[in-house]
Amino acid sequence: MIEFHLDSRSGVATYLQIVQQVKEALRLGVLDLGDQLPTVREVVADLAINPNTVAKAYRDLEREGLVVARPGRGTFIADTLAAPSLQHHEALRRELERWLAAAMQAGLDEDSIRALISNTLREALVRRVA
């Protein structure tokens, strides 16, 4: 089952962090159709956050059709974001790991690596649109 974590310094609203973490887990195939999300009580007890916040995140996910709430039973994944690309993830991850090893070998620190990746990604997206 997915475990949520909070970054209180990120400036991202708590309910959005929960929504994003569910979506990310769906994209990566960590969560799949029929999987259950932790109950509001479980998230609240774990993170010490407002139950309304968890309920709001789950409502947002439900509105997007990603989860379905079954009263008295819990909230379940109703759709997947992984789509057919998931089969390629493993191979791509291995390539990325090789690339990361090379980057560290070359002396790049975490921030430089992040900057390089997000920059390159942005440019690639712009090129695709153009």
């Binding site: 708590t14 609240v44 007890a45 774990d46 010490a48 407002n50 916040t53």
Partner: protein, 298 residues
Amino acid sequence: MTAAVETRALGKRFRRGWAVRDCTLTIPEHAIVGLAGPNGAGKSTLLSLAVALLAPTEGTISVLGRDPWRDPDTLGEVGYVAQDAPLYRSFTVGETLDFARKTNAHWDSSLATGSLARLSSNSRVSALSAGERARLALAVALGKRPRLLLLDEPFARLDPKAGREFLQMLMDGVADIGATVVVASHVVADIERIADHIVLLSDGRVRLEGNVEELLASHRLLTGGSRPLGRIGGVSEIVRERSSGRQMTLLARLSAPVADPTWSVDEIGLEELLLGYMAPERLPKPAPQERRRLQWHG
């Protein structure tokens, strides 16, 4: 929908002056409210008015739709933990819970004891740590299954770990009973994690009140070169201005996005927002009429 707490022009005067003045606010049911403000702002007085420990000097307060002063039954549905979690120090944990069970018409002992798992019922209250005492006082308040729970500075004496445990117990209890909660604290970081509604008091007056998300969405920090301030498109109120030499920072309430490219526009955190409304620049001061108009109304 009934409001959990509603005040109209509420005021309380002590011999030394007004502790709360001209206070009009509505706390929606099921909200988790951060009652913020510096020490001496009137937070404790407001909570004491809600539980009829004090009578209003002027104006009205209604709690769960009733007047707590005229209708003491209201208080059966209100849990209140005063500052420093007052308990009988010579009682044991078990005796404290027993006493609470006997003095409350509705008592949910599984809820009260379930949340105190690691506290031995034979321990004396005087031997408990600050964190344990805070959790015991909260258990006594939760056991009533209150519709409204009022907590006065519950984190004041807790270290970060005890504070987190207290918060977990509080949120878990609230998820169970669905109560409206008001947490008074002068430390914004303590309430930021849980509050979905904010009431900011300063010098006995309400400076800011509303849904946290809406407040954060409607306020921005504008940074740009110093200039005489006129109307800025999208800004409905300049809450605070600060300039340092050639640069100027404005805390602004927006009615629409700011399009003027000479301002860089940034989101603002809750703590910074509340400080902006508390800052002395916000308070009325002798200033030329024209300038004052700009400051208050953009």
